[in-house]
């Protein structure tokens, strides 16, 4: 009852004409800034922050929230159309979104992304309204062992992301984990594998890795394939809307993605990138269309987008109720609130109920606006793909350069992108897939941090991962997943051997006759 009346009051606040306008402006600007490669929600919020100084706190927060999830959605447009992730969290969308675009289904991919973002946003909003206090408490029960167990589960699931050999998938995940250690060790302050280069002290930015491996690497592959041709197969302008079967295929992934996203968004320090990576990996394991993943499966677009957007909403839970920002963008939100003299924390729900519920209601309105704004624009975005590839790819290269340069205003990042781009191309040549590498790279630093904390708190006793109930359960699920992966791998191998034997026998018979 309290929730309904709170939400009702929030709706009244959010529907005030000026808040509605700021929400629209925020969503609009966020989408357009998010489309630009490398310029993510953090840069978008930073750009918009000075504009909000003159607004009421609620209006300012509504606008910032609009920019935030607008940018997250905009990021997926660049991922789907050009394989260059606009934001780190949308890098997972590249894996299936881009193959869909190449297959002439860019419109459907963008539509699926919009619908999944909307679904994820609404689920995230409901979770935030209903479970904010409870989730905040649950998040407090999550110690280092639980975090480690969750990440391990995510990584084991991620090894399944590879479409090629599972062995190479696991190898890439471990390589990602290892390369994630480059930079200053946050526990001791010691430099690791920086080769004395000051710019390497902060490690390698995820956007650089994603743009290099996916953007530049894929571009090198596709130049010859597309020379003097169009960027993608024939576009059917009538086919922007998913078929009934596609709607059906999307529903489950959107729900599962939203659930996983809501959970990860509420955990401080994880954020949307981890949420979409884990959701994709889990979906790849449970989906009936496992074989289609990585080749343009609509589920592969829906699941990270739903997870990403629901995590975007629930990231506000620890930020507002605990005062603990889930990501750098959320730290900016806290900064903006503090400028108004509002201290985020458990008292916020009581002292500033109007602001909290106004924000929750603005999520609903913002997500509807996002849908209204983006569905008609799908046609425009897809028409971009009609531009012949010979004009398109040099432009994309410049966009990548500007995007990575603007991360830190440093040309060193462009050099690093070149290295990762070449590495991405060589990976394809060696038949290694970049997707599991990216997931390992995302989860690695957090995994290491939690492992070290857990070992310190347990006084060096590794059995702590099994004896604590939440982590013990998660480790058991991970073990089951591993056993299942081994079993299905062996089954597939046996089936291949049987098929090979049948072919050889029939060849022999043909030879005799």
């Amino acid at each position: 009852m309290e929730i309904i009346s709170g939400f009702g009051n929030g709706l009244l606040v959010a529907l005030q004409p000026e808040n509605l306008l700021y929400c629209f402006v925020g969503v609009f600007l966020g989408t357009f800034i998010g489309v630009l490669p490398g310029i993510g929600s953090m840069a978008a919020i930073s750009m918009i922050l000075p504009l909000t100084f003159y607004l009421e706190p609620t209006s300012a927060l509504v606008m910032i929230a609009g920019v935030y999830y607008g940018a997250e959605y905009g990021g997926s447009i660049a991922s789907i159309l050009m394989n260059i992730p606009g934001t780190p969290s949308s890098s997972i969308t590249c894996i299936d979104g881009y193959p869909m675009a190449r297959d002439g289904r860019a419109g459907i991919a963008l539509f699926a992304s919009a619908i999944a973002s909307f679904g994820g946003g609404i689920v995230g909003m409901i979770v935030m309204a209903v479970l904010a206090p409870g989730l905040a408490e649950l998040a407090l029960n999550f110690g280092p062992t639980e975090y480690f167990a969750v990440i391990l589960l995510g990584l084991v699931a991620a090894s399944a992301v590879s479409n090629g050999s599972p062995l190479k998938g696991i190898t890439m995940v471990v390589a990602g984990l290892m390369l994630g250690t480059v930079g200053v060790d946050i526990t001791t302050g010691a430099e690791r594998f920086t080769m004395g280069i000051p710019e390497m002290r902060d490690g390698v930015h995820l956007v650089i890795v994603a743009m290099g491996l996916f953007g530049v690497g894929e571009l090198i592959v596709s130049i010859r394939a597309n020379a003097s041709g169009a960027f993608q197969n024939e576009i059917d302008y009538k086919k922007f809307y998913p078929s009934r079967a596609e709607w059906k295929a999307m529903f489950g992934p959107i729900m599962r993605g939203s659930g996983i996203g809501s959970f990860f968004g509420a955990l401080p320090g994880t954020g949307q990138t981890v949420a979409s990576a884990v959701a994709y990996a889990v979906e790849k394991k449970v989906s009936p269309n496992r074989a289609g993943f990585g080749k343009g499966a609509i589920e592969g677009v829906a699941v990270p987008e739903a997870a990403n957007n629901s995590a975007t909403q629930t990231a506000f839970i620890p930020t507002l109720t605990l005062g603990v920002p889930g990501s750098a963008s959320m730290a900016l939100v806290i900064g903006a609130l503090m400028m108004y003299g509002i201290v985020p924390g458990p008292r916020l729900l009581v002292d500033h109920a109007d602001l909290f519920w106004g924000l929750v209601a603005s999520f609903l309105i913002g997500n509807i606006l996002l849908l209204i704004l983006n569905i008609p624009l799908i046609g425009l975005w897809v028409r971009l793909l009609k531009i012949p590839y010979k004009y398109m790819y040099p432009t994309i290269i410049v966009l990548i350069c500007v995007g990575v340069y603007s991360l830190n205003n440093n040309v060193f990042d462009v050099w690093l992108t070149l290295v990762f781009g070449w590495a991405g191309y060589l990976m394809r040549l060696f038949r290694f897939e970049p997707a599991p590498f990216l997931i390992g790279f995302v989860l690695g630093p957090m995994m290491e941090e939690q492992l070290r904390r857990a070992m310190l708190l347990s006084r060096g006793d590794p059995t702590v991962f099994l004896t604590r109930p939440i982590s013990g359960t998660l480790i058991a699920i991970t073990a089951l997943l591993l056993v299942y992966a081994l079993y299905s791998g062996m089954k597939a191998r046996r089936a291949r051997q049987r098929a090979h034997a049948v072919t050889e026998t029939s060849d022999l018979q043909q030879g005799k006759s």
Binding site: L36, I39, M47, S165, L167, K168, I170, T171, V174, A175, L177, M178, T181, D185, T188, A190, R192, F193, V216, L219, I220, V221, I223, R224, A227, S228, Y389, K390, Y391, Y393, P394, T395, I397, V398, I400, C401, V402, S406, N409, V411, V414, W415, L418, G421, W422, Y425, L426, L429, F430, R431, F432, G444, E448, L451, R452, M455, L456, G460, D461, P462
Partner: protein, 162 residues
Amino acid sequence: MKDLLLRLRRSEDTARPPHAYLGALGGVALLILSIVFILGGYELGVGSPRRLGTGAFPVITGFILAVLSLVVIASDLRDTSDAERPDWISFAAIGAALAIFALTVGRIGLVPGAFLTVITASVPDPSLPIVGKIILGALVSLACWALFIGLIGLPFAPFGGL
């Protein structure tokens, strides 16, 4: 220039080693990388189980990667399929385009930097004549000026050093 590119492309198409060598080469590269991380990790200090050192995680992951790389090498050496067809011209041209952007943007500005980047990146596609490349370069660099400097206000100098 066009003929040269086409000839180079044709020679690339004929040179196709079996995948076994290429695949094993990837495994060897990963093995070397893992050894670098293991040695570097030991040098940083692995600490104790209670207080894991700075180098502990790189050493743990390095060891796992080394073992996996050996398995990859062993399994790829048995692969009899044809290798992927490499495209070294695009590989070099795209690398050069990124390098040119990195070298020029701080020295001569975004507009000429983007122009040269477009020209370099478009080299592997012989279907676009040189005039087309110049026009595309001019359009892209001017659009970058309008969008990134004029509209968004990113800290680039359109012309000249930063």
